[in-house]
């Protein structure tokens, strides 16, 4: 939940008199939190100091009580102004001074009231509805002429994420990505989260979906059975992937190979390089992955599990795809829209062995969603961790080992 907040300003000889300390202590003792902004210490004894303090509280009542308690010590509420907005003059183009979003919870001030921006995601604009009662994020490509787009920086406030209450791996503000970090405790924490989320999901609670965005290395490296089990056991509810993961998974179902390599024998089989093309061709002939599973052509694996367990799938195409498989969205902007729709209600994201899908998914997620990025290449988790989310955990490890260990934590027995 986004905390309610108000910015107060304090000035004078507030350091030596301990007035600043008293104000900050008061905020904390009353159950609020604060961020110190723009603290200027007077250069000489005579020169005053000043501090801008963002006060936060879980309820408007408590916030009002805190503000009332610190007001006698000189902490005066700064009067904010409303945000500015302009109509877009053409389709797909923001006004020049448009405000670009972060992935943090954001509010804008409309007619004196702070309104939560819906659909928080980084690198978008903010569109205000004509009644000025609601605001939502909007991608550049979706702007229609006349849409009211927020401009400038006034009347906009961004809330840094509070440290999560849970004392697990997501609860520590670490964005260090290291191959030397012990994996087991991290994976155990992720498993605990997934157990809780599965309970919530089954009870229909909000923000309990688990998303997995994965690359084909999951299949090559031998993580297919573990992922299939995770889906069948009800731990994964949304899958983002490309043409390749689906093709190799079904290649394995039909031929027992992944890109021509025998998954059990571990060596290439004669004419194996054709297997994925023949698989794609076969599914294209059937018309859809769904039908291929339903008709019994694909009997096991990740795709079969997704179809049988109603996992929402978005397959986004790329320029090097073969086929592609039916259902792969080849228009990138359409794929982005489809992914954007599916990240709503996600409470945990697992980004496994796919630079492209991991980064794309990371960009779509609000910072509040705990995110695990697993890759043998440290640059992928590092890039995601650099987004500044408290709740991003990077694991430098092989996809199959991760999925197997995670599945084992959750009760998978071979």
């Amino acid at each position: 939940m986004t905390a309610l907040q108000e910015t107060v300003f304090l000035q004078g000889h507030i350091i030596d008199s301990l007035i600043l300390a008293k104000v900050l202590d008061t905020i904390l003792m009353m159950g609020g939190t604060f961020d110190l902004q723009d603290v200027t210490i007077g250069a000489t004894r005579d020169a005053p100091s000043q501090a801008r303090i963002v006060v936060r509280a879980p309820s408007s009542r408590l916030l009002a009580e805190i503000l009332q308690a610190i007001q006698p010590h000189g902490a005066a509420v700064e009067r904010d102004s409303d945000c500015r907005f302009e109509p877009a003059s053409a389709a797909g183009i923001f006004p020049d001074q448009f405000y670009a979003t972060t992935h943090l919870p954001t509010q804008i001030r409309l007619d004196g009231d702070w309104v939560e921006v819906e659909g928080m995601e980084m690198d978008l604009g903010i569109c205000v509805d004509p009644a000025k009662a609601r605001a939502r994020t909007l991608p550049m490509g979706s702007v229609k002429p006349g849409d009211l787009i927020v401009t400038g920086r006034e009347g906009i406030r961004v809330t840094p994420l509070a440290r999560p209450r849970e004392r697990d791996v997501f609860g520590f503000m670490e964005s260090v990505v290291s191959s030397e970090r012990p994996h087991q405790p991290v994976i155990a924490d992720i498993a605990q989260r997934m157990l809780k989320l599965r309970v919530g999901y089954r009870q229909g609670q909000p923000d309990t979906k688990v998303l997995l965005a994965g690359g084909p290395a999951i299949v090559h490296a031998g993580g297919r059975e573990a992922l299939t089990w995770l889906i069948e056991a009800g731990f994964i509810h949304v899958l983002f992937c490309g043409n390749a993961l689906a093709a190799h998974d079904m290649e394995a179902a039909l031929y027992g190979t992944s890109l021509g390599y025998g998954l059990t024998a571990g060596r290439s089989v004669p004419h194996g390089h054709e297997h994925h093309l023949r698989t794609i061709n076969r599914i294209r002939a059937i018309g859809s992955i769904h039908e291929a599973v339903r008709s019994g052509v694909i009997t096991e694996g990740i795709m079969a599990a997704c179809v049988r367990h109603d996992v929402r799938m978005v397959m986004a195409g790329t320029i090097r795809d073969d086929g592609p498989l039916p259902g792969v969205v080849t228009d990138s902007m359409q794929a982005q829209e489809a992914m954007r729709a599916e990240v709503q209600g996600v409470g945990l994201a697992l980004l496994v062995a796919s630079t492209l899908h991991a980064i794309a998914t990371g960009n779509l997620l609000p910072a509040s969603v705990p995110t695990v990025c697993v890759d043998v290449n440290p640059s992928v988790p590092t890039k995601l961790a650099d987004r500044g989310s408290f709740q991003a955990v990077g694991l430098v490890m092989d996809a199959a080992s991760f999925l197997k260990e995670l599945a084992r934590e959750l009760g998978w027995r071979l």
Partner: protein
């Protein structure tokens, strides 16, 4: 020679109750009040050797006698008080008028900032301390600090009996501080301790604090102190000060004593 602004108690009485000391039924005896005030003036002029500037009393303004609350003076500049209670706000124009007639540059703060003059702002040559919460608004101090180019350390007054800083905090000419610690919170005490070393802090016991031991006037090595504060008097004498006890019981009915009845002009 030091000069003090004073106002005779011709119209002094208790017409309203704006601090815990004031009780309308506890009426002032006018002749006693006049005698006590005259004695105080005599001691100040004759024993201490200060010059007195007497302003005229005004009917209907009983507390005009407490000139410490006129404003705060530095050099030829004065910032006139803005009283928290409307009962005393009518005094502001008379104080301003006196200073204007005597050639001072008269400044005022914005009307929303309560500030009760030297009652809440006093200190040492370098550092001033400002009492807030009971009467003065802490936000007045940054403005005063800018006007007078002085550091002003705000101190919260947490005991309603000590509603002005000069009722519990008295800087002395030798750098010592006479004060009643319980009138301040831990933050205030820490801020005081940071500026005034322990051996310079002279603590007043509660039974003398409520007899306004801290509401004393210190000029050079002379200290004029309300009568009935033997312990404090002894401590001050041990420090080499010459103390002068003055009976001021009639003014204590209104919550003031020696310091409240005077305003240092330079």
């Amino acid at each position: 020679m030091s000069r003090l602004l004073v106002c005779p108690p011709d119209h002094f009485q208790i017409d309203y109750e704006i601090n815990p000391w004031m009780r309308r039924e506890n009426a002032v005896l006018p002749s006693h009040a006049v005698n006590q005030w005259q004695t105080l003036m005599h001691v100040l002029e004759q024993d201490v050797g200060v010059g007195l500037e007497r302003m005229l009393s005004v009917p209907g303004l009983p507390d005009l006698v407490f000139t410490a609350n006129a404003g705060v003076v530095a050099g030829r500049r004065v910032v006139i008080s803005r009283f928290r209670y409307p009962e005393r706000r009518r005094e502001e124009v008379y104080f301003a008028q006196w200073f204007r007639e005597h050639g001072y540059e008269v400044l005022t703060l914005e009307k929303s900032l309560y500030f009760e003059g030297a009652g809440d702002l006093l200190g040492f040559p370098d550092t001033w301390f400002g009492g807030y919460r009971q009467r003065s608004d802490i936000r007045s101090f940054p403005k005063l600090s800018e006007i007078f180019q002085r550091e002003i350390i705000p101190l919260e007054l947490i005991d309603g009996r000590f509603y002005h800083l000069d009722t519990c905090f008295c800087p002395l000419s030798g750098g010592e501080l006479l004060y009643f610690p319980s009138a301040f919170d831990a933050y205030g005490l820490a801020a005081i301790a940071q500026r005034i070393p322990e051996e310079q802090r002279l603590t007043v016991p509660e039974d003398e604090a409520i007899r306004f031991a801290c509401n004393a006037v210190c000029v050079g090595k002379h200290i004029v102190i309300p009568a009935g504060c033997p312990q404090t008097t002894r401590v001050l004498q041990d420090r080499g000060y010459r103390t002068h006890d003055v009976e001021l019981g009639e003014f204590m009915k209104s919550g003031g004593a020696a310091k409240c009845l005077t305003l240092a002009l330079d």
